[in-house]
């Protein structure tokens, strides 16, 4: 459904800032009917890629095909196949839910009986049916997001692009939104590409693509990605991380990875974790604050690949 080939995007230099490469020769394919999560630390080029995909900016080089249409040469045809949910709300807060939906339909030339039909269909999954006359302004964050998604469904897209759609929602609402999204995707056989760095959202995805510094680091199923780290790992925390890490490497010959005040032993074979943990405790009990055996999560894979946590990525800020 999406075929990105050798995509490069360089932001032109301006008076104050030098030229900056946001996307560096990236190729990525998302098959029809897949639910793909695009992740990466801030500044990894996700947002640039997203802007290019929805046709808001032209890349420096490369090609993109969406549902067989060349996005860069025939943008109108490619755009007709997709719908976009932006991070910032793209609904008019001063208008009612119904007015927002009607306006969106007008933009796409949907009217009359066709509109009534599509409206019922698009609203079927929501909690909005009794609140159509209310202004979007007074809806809760979760409901406002439902309006956005409903709006997108009106055009019966084959591809849905979402840019961190759950930003600002509480965990329960976020979960509900993503679950609904999965149901819709399955029911309508949509292809979904969603950027996110909330890894609980990625566990149910078909594919997780991880970007860093404009390059694609990984693109695989969540299971396969977790598999890269083995099935278990030992994570310990200490106040003298650096010294302890050096000693573990020297004394035990184990491969370690330091992350903040954590030391991770990621490549432990199955069943090996417990003996390692015991050995570590035996030798360095005094220096260890806490120690645990963990099943790798997608967040751990992210840390492994990008060398930072989602929280770090958030704290780093920027785009």
């Amino acid at each position: 459904m999406i075929q990105i080939e050798n995509l490069t995007h360089v932001y032109p230099a301006s008076r104050k800032t030098p030229e900056r490469t946001a996307i560096d020769n990236l190729s990525l394919t998302v098959d029809e009917g897949q639910f793909c999560i695009l992740s990466g630390p801030n500044g990894s080029g996700k947002s640039s890629l997203f802007r290019i995909l929805c046709g808001m900016s032209y890349p420096s080089a490369g090609s993109i095909r969406i549902a067989g249409h060349d996005l860069l040469k025939a943008p109108a045809k490619a755009r007709a196949e997709m719908a976009v949910v932006f991070q910032s709300p793209a609904v008019d807060k001063h208008l009612s839910v119904a007015e927002n939906l009607k306006l969106h339909a007008d933009l796409y030339g949907i009217k009359g009986k066709d509109y009534a039909e599509r409206l019922d269909e698009a609203l079927a999954w929501t909690n909005l049916k009794d609140r159509l006359a209310e202004k979007v302004d007074i809806l809760s964050g979760g409901l406002a997001r439902q309006v956005e998604l409903t709006k997108c469904l009106l055009t019966r897209p084959r591809l849905l692009l979402l840019d961190e759609p759950t930003t600002g929602l509480d965990p329960a609402t976020r979960r509900a939104f993503v679950d609904a999204l999965h149901r819709i995707q399955k029911g309508r056989k949509l292809t979904v590409l969603m950027t996110s760095h909330i890894f609980s959202e990625a566990e149910d995805a078909d594919r997780v693509a991880i970007m860093r510094a404009g390059k694609l680091l990984a693109n695989d199923s969540p299971q396969a990605l977790r598999g890269q780290l083995g099935r278990e790992m030992v994570v310990l925390q200490s106040r003298q991380t650096e010294a302890l890490e050096a000693r573990i490497q020297a004394d035990l010959g184990l491969k370690t990875r330091r992350h903040g005040d954590e030391i991770r032993l990621e490549e432990t074979d199955n069943g090996n974790s417990l003996p390692i943990l015991e050995k570590l405790l035996e030798r360095y009990r005094a220096e260890i604050d806490s120690i645990a055996i963990k099943q790798p999560s997608l967040e751990d894979v992210f840390i492994h690949l990008t060398g930072q946590t989602a929280a770090d990525a958030d704290a780093e800020g920027g785009k």
Binding site: Y11, R51, S60, D92, L95, H104, G109
Partner: protein
């Protein structure tokens, strides 16, 4: 294209009506200006060739232009708000023509200006100005043309602006002076040479001539009056130029830098 533009314009209009402060502000301010300035200058105003015209009457079409100017400024500011809030993104991604996006905003601004100026036209008989059906028609046409010019110009300047305070600055140093030097406040004839020259090339001055015409001349006279026809041509050109200019601004997409090989 037009159905999309009308849908977008309707949104502008609904939004305007739902913000009572905006309605009051844009209607009341020009009227207060008119009443205060008009009454104050009334005794000292003597325009050459316009003997018997009170300042209240002289200033009257100028206030109409002011209403259009304000309507256009406010609707242009909503471009910046739309971009900030995120609404604009969904319009830009939709498969709609770029002209429809421009026309939607401009028609929204024009329709708001029309409501105000038409209400204000009710004052004409009280000033001793009498309008026949033909004159009224020409008047409405000139309202539409003049406010299109203003709205399109506002759009053109606001499109690349990222902050509404920046737009205020542009408005104060550019849009307001265009209005002040249009002959709305004082007649062109008495002004010093340099000012006279500025006023001749100012499209708003021509829009004022266009609007003043129907109050003082019969429709048939106007159609043969070369000064009025010139004003008509300039006003149409003014609107068209800024509509096209705005469209090319909307069309422009952010582009990646070319790669060095």
């Amino acid at each position: 294209m037009f159905s999309v533009a009308i849908a977008l314009a309707r949104r502008e209009f609904i939004r305007f009506m739902r913000q009572p402060h905006r309605v009051i502000g844009t209607v009341a301010q020009p009227i207060l200006f008119w009443l205060f300035l008009g009454s104050g200058f009334n005794s000292s105003f003597r325009a050459p060739g316009m003997e018997g015209v009170s300042y209240l009457e002289y200033f009257y079409p100028g206030v109409m232009l002011m209403m259009m100017l304000f309507a256009s400024i406010f609707s242009s500011i909503t471009i910046i708000e739309d971009r900030d809030a995120g609404f604009l993104q969904s319009v830009l991604v939709a498969p709609v023509s770029r002209m429809a996006i421009v026309l939607g905003k401009v028609m929204g601004g024009v329709s708001i200006a029309m409501v105000q100026t038409l209400i204000f036209t009710i004052a004409a008989p009280f000033l001793g100005l009498h309008l026949g059906l033909g004159s009224l028609l020409l008047l409405v046409i000139s309202y539409v043309l003049a406010s299109t010019g203003f709205a399109a110009m506002g759009f053109f300047f606001a499109w690349s602006m990222r902050s509404s305070s920046g737009f205020h600055a542009i408005m104060m140093v550019f849009l307001m002076p265009l209005w002040m030097l249009s002959g709305a406040l004082f007649p062109v004839e008495n002004a010093p040479m340099w000012l006279h020259a500025v006023m001749t090339v100012n499209p708003v001055a021509h829009a004022l001539v266009l609007m003043r015409g129907p109050f003082y001349m019969e429709p048939l006279q106007l159609i043969e009056n070369s000064r009025w026809l010139l004003a008509l041509a300039v006003t149409i050109l003014w609107g068209a130029a800024f509509l096209l200019g705005s469209m090319s601004r909307v069309e422009k997409r952010e582009k990646g830098a070319a790669l060095k090989v």
